[in-house]
């Protein structure tokens, strides 16, 4: 990220035009990562508003309509603005370096797929300042609340989703083309790092489901403005159809947000255990199985809509099956740690926390798959606790682990380990205080998406809020760590971590602006 190194052909342009017109995968990766961090803080601010309102029973800060806008915007921004772009940013930075390619396959499209994102989110966020208010129908935007009964800003929401979808699709095409066509000689598919593998599969998932999301919002647009009745019972449509189409996108989307995390953790754990990843082949097959299963489980989000029992049973069994490949992954990580020689730098701490807390989210996921029990869990805080466990100490922790892991490679300096550990421990404690009590709230009967609650939920809510504020505030430490690290510090070696394996560790730190203009020596490519 520092503009100093100009060893190869030419260095980056100067000033703002470097960032606006860049086609360099490292620049674009950095743009994605900074953008996603900004969105993380914005979506986090909305979460703070939610937790502040829920701190005590009664309405103190916001009215119910604004509360609904906050839950909706928090979900949309975190999913589409924070987590997905962060993974795309990591893919941009790391995939070419991991497979020995000089850049992404389609550098100009790469620039475009990033630069349309800020417009999408500016449009979405601008609705907060409009008279009709921001979307208030939940990030799942079920019809007819999001069509017939929506605020008029829903049209901005629809176009924002279209742009985000276009960005994701272009990003995925680029990633697939890079992985399939740009690998260095000797880099066979089964020698690729797992991060590359998981991203390849994720990119295919994105190509399969983002167009379906575009389709469903297009249908909404037609229902709202052109008098069609896709989701309107009066004209022969069906609101439940919306949910089927939405979750046909939505469930693979969940795995889009977790598969690259599996790849990151599969890179970090072997490094700090100083031992090869256990069961590389089974990891690849497990990832592919999870991706396949993700297409046939969508209706487990809809067990209470009144499906016939055959449907309920099919989706229950299919969902339970996901536990098998997911279990294989967890067992492989544990087996990698077993009889290793471990050290616990910040990336490893985040990776271990990922394994434990993501697995807990997996357990509640298994509980939610059990249809009759889901009748009690559905749409309660138990579900909120479940998906936050897989997405915050799951996806988000893996992103943080990745940032700490590769930061020395990006900046050329070691980050401040003390601050990093502080960030980890505050995040770890905060996230558990924040989300663990929500299991209890849900089991005791608190529905999700309510601005105010009955008195028996008061205690766990304020505890959860305190955890939320702690977790939220701790994220500013990450900002400090990154800025400090960009500015300077202890010089990083090319290898950075003692146990690190892979092509990205064979280039200098910071990585030169252009890497692998000539393919790396095939002898450097090892089995994973």
């Amino acid at each position: 990220m520092s503009a100093a190194h100009d060893d190869h052909h030419h260095g980056p342009a100067k000033g703002i035009s470097r960032w606006l017109f860049t086609t360099n995968h490292k620049d674009i990766g950095s743009l994605y990562l900074w953008f996603s961090f900004a969105m993380f803080l914005l979506g986090g601010t909305f979460a703070m508003v939610i937790r502040a309102e829920l701190f005590q029973p009664g309405l103190q800060l916001v009215d119910p309509n604004f509360f609904n806008q906050m839950t909706t915007m928090h979900g949309l921004i975190m999913v589409f603005g924070a987590v997905m772009p962060a993974f795309v940013g990591l893919a941009n930075w790391m995939i070419p370096m991991m497979i020995g390619a000089p850049d992404m396959a389609l550098p100009r499209m790469n620039n475009w797929s990033f630069w349309i994102l800020p417009f999408a989110f500016a449009m979405l966020s601008a609705t907060l300042f409009m008279e009709a208010g921001a979307p208030n129908f939940g990030w799942t935007f079920y019809a007819p609340l999001s069509t017939t009964y929506a605020p008029e800003t829903v049209t901005f929401f629809i176009f924002a989703v279209h742009i985000m979808g276009a960005s994701s699709i272009m990003g995925s095409i680029n990633i697939i083309a890079t992985i399939l066509n740009m690998r260095a000689p000797g880099m066979t598919l089964m020698k690729m790092p797992l991060f590359v593998w998981t991203w390849l599969i994720t990119a295919y998932l994105l190509i399969a489901v983002m167009p379906v999301l575009a389709g469903v919002v297009t249908m909404m647009l037609f229902d709202i403005h052109f008098g069609t009745s896709f989701f309107n019972a009066a004209g022969g449509g069906d609101p439940v159809l919306f949910q089927h189409v939405f979750w046909f996108f939505g469930h693979p989307e969940v795995y889009i947000m977790i598969l690259p995390a599996f790849g990151i953790v599969s890179a970090i754990i072997p490094t700090f255990a100083r031992k090869r990843l256990f069961g590389y082949d089974s990891m690849v097959y497990a990832t592919a199985s999870i991706a396949f299963l993700s297409f046939i489980v969508w209706a487990h989000h809809m067990f209470t809509v009144g499906m016939p029992i055959a449907g309920e049973l099919f989706f229950m069994y299919a969902t339970m099956l996901i536990a098998v490949p997911t279990g294989v992954k967890v067992f492989n990580w544990v087996a990698t740690m077993f009889r290793g020689s471990m050290t616990f730098e910040t990336p490893m701490l985040f990776a271990i926390a990922f394994v434990v807390l993501f697995t807990m989210g997996g357990f509640t996921g298994l509980m939610l798959a059990i249809t009759p029990a889901d009748f009690q869990y559905h749409d309660t805080y138990f579900v909120v606790a479940h998906f936050h466990y897989v997405l915050v100490p799951g996806a988000v922790f893996s992103i943080m682990a990745a940032v700490y892991y590769w930061l020395p490679k990006w900046t050329g300096y070691m980050y401040d380990e003390t601050l990093g550990k502080l960030h980890f421990w505050l995040s770890f404690i905060g996230v558990n205080i924040l989300f663990f009590p929500q299991h209890f709230l849900g089991l005791a009967g608190m529905p999700r998406r309510i601005p105010d609650y009955a008195l028996q939920f008061a205690d766990f809510n304020w505890i959860s809020s305190v955890g939320g504020f702690l977790f939220g505030a701790s994220q500013l430490i990450l900002l400090v760590v990154v800025i400090k690290c960009v500015k300077g510090g202890k010089k990083a070696t090319a290898q950075v971590w003692e146990g690190a394996q892979g092509l990205e560790w064979t280039v200098d730190s910071p990585a030169p602006y252009h890497t692998f203009a000539t393919p790396p020596d095939p002898k450097l490519i090892h089995a994973q």
Binding site: L106, I173, I207, V209, M210, P211, G215, M219, P308
Partner: protein
């Protein structure tokens, strides 16, 4: 490792992927009719099929002593002002026996309105065994100001209905589909 020109192979790959994108976009829309077909087969959502047509000479006859209670239910959807309800609360039928029941509807307003009734059956799995020979829900209903009508349903319950179903509920929700740009004078009168 690539023997061919990577640029042209990338081009071909991207073209294929773009086709996949377009295909999946179309698939999203294809889910709409596909869903209707699945609903029709499985009775998902309690959707009943359309008009049941049979050979002209084969009026169904009661085929079994079994007695099934059919309940009638009605509700207006938001904004629909008609008075709407069944004239019979429930009837008992033998499978195969054709029954005629009716709903009444009244337009209380001083302008012409159009309504559309949407049927739904509980339990959902019974939907496919409820065969409607005639139903007001097959067409839009237009009522003059103050007009009141009785609207008939001719139906029978298919003999193949599972043994455990002894009672089924037919519900109509009534929706206002008046074109208000035409009826705007009526609105202004309020």
């Amino acid at each position: 490792m690539k023997s061919e020109n990577p640029r042209s192979s990338t081009k071909r790959l991207v073209t294929k992927l773009l086709f996949a994108v377009v295909g999946m976009f179309a698939f999203g829309f294809a889910l709409v009719p596909l869903y209707d077909v699945i609903c029709d087969i499985t009775g998902l959502n309690g959707k009943t099929s359309g008009r049941y047509s049979m050979a002209a000479d084969s009026e169904p006859v009661p085929v079994s002593e079994r007695e099934i209670t059919v309940q009638f239910m009605a509700q207006n959807s938001a904004g629909m002002e008609w008075v709407f309800g069944p004239n019979e609360a429930q009837v008992k039928v033998h499978p195969g026996e054709v029954k005629v029941v009716s709903y009444r509807a009244k337009n209380p307003n001083d302008y012409v309105m159009t309504g559309q009734a949407i049927p739904s059956v509980a339990p959902n799995e019974a939907a496919q065994y409820l065969k409607k020979l005639e139903c007001f829900c097959f067409a839009e209903q237009e009522l003059q100001p103050g007009e009141e009508v009785n609207m008939a349903i001719r139906f029978f319950v298919d003999e193949n209905i599972p043994e455990k179903i002894t009672k089924l509920t037919l519900s109509y929700s009534l929706h206002d589909i008046t074109d208000y740009e035409v009826a705007v004078e009526g609105i202004a009168a309020r």
